[in-house]
Symmetry: C2
Subunit: 205 residues, 2 copies
Amino acid sequence: MKVTIPRKTVYRLSLYYRSLQRLRANRIDTVSSAALAKASGVKPTQLRKDLAYFGQLGVRGLGYGVDALTKKIGEVLGTACLQPVILIGVGQLGSALLNYGGFARQGFEVVAAFDLQHKKVRPKGATVKVYSMDGIGEFIRKKSIKIAILTLPGHVAQEVANLVVESGIQAILNFAPAILQVPENVVVNNVDLAAELENLSYFIQ
Amino acid sequence: MKVTIPRKTVYRLSLYYRSLQRLRANRIDTVSSAALAKASGVKPTQLRKDLAYFGQLGVRGLGYGVDALTKKIGEVLGTACLQPVILIGVGQLGSALLNYGGFARQGFEVVAAFDLQHKKVRPKGATVKVYSMDGIGEFIRKKSIKIAILTLPGHVAQEVANLVVESGIQAILNFAPAILQVPENVVVNNVDLAAELENLSYFIQ
DNA sequence: CTGTGTGAAGGCTTTCACAGCC
DNA sequence: GGCTGTGAAAGCCTTCACACAG
């Protein structure tokens, strides 16, 4: 009876979540699959199929309750309560992400940053402390951190990944241009900016 | 005879490209599908199928020539010659990307940045000039820019997208948390950091 | 014998068509 | 009538099995 949710469906839930939050801000309390799908850039049937994995959430002839659906998706994604996250590698990109407000708004909090050069100062504007790598294992264990963001040069990414995985990290958002080898119980999402540009480059020819 | 290349294959080409460049740096001139696949994090058969779309590039019993394959993929992706790119929205994330060296290394050059607040100063360290939005249309046309990176707040992204598409932009790398509506001859790749984290959050439950 | 190229099979996602409920 | 839920069909991508070349 336990059906597995397709990975792509999980990804789209985030899009729906974002659209629903906008609807909520506009005091709209009911939405049809057609309207929500359009706002999220998908087809109505796909949206219905995605939502159907989690039970009968809609009302036939009427649509979906915005509040209830938001709550449900939040639960499914596990963002209903604030997730603590650490960031490793405080270079250009890392500093920017520390200042980037988008995470906190969506249920994530960067609670600490780490860097190989421990003398790295906290980027101005950021409220997050930057530590040396020495105590990272202890930090992860004590605070039960599960998610790490890696904004490191490619040649040290694997080494650092090994370290944090051993300390208990279960998920990595990897910005380094490297394919990380991790145990299969650890999830890695890669964000490869150069690859995205190359992809665009191909399609405009 | 003209077969269409799967979108996912195009994306993986970037991974192969990256791996090949490392091999080249190490003066390795031949590589098997097994070795290259492992370095790129895919299965050997998939790699062979991907490469077969572009002709018989390998030698049976031997493997692929690193130089020739690198050249071929560069041509296919359209990164053989330097692509000029503009960046719009010089906030935290935009500034970081201006300083981020990863693009230039892979055949892209950010030739100019634009911001709605035209008094925005150039981020320290960056060599790229920041302009107001006034002359952006002219700039795009005169320099034949095809790719734009959007690092803007979600609520202005659509408006700016309309503007640049009208001026001739054909591809957008969108960091704004918004679904952009564009003509179908324009390609959009979304990088949604919050969505990536939510995705991870789901899989560690 | 080693390692690529490729039709066929298999698996996963999306789309369709329509039944079911308000 | 309006709109959701869902089995079936279609489409797409990955994996397999093996032919073929060096």
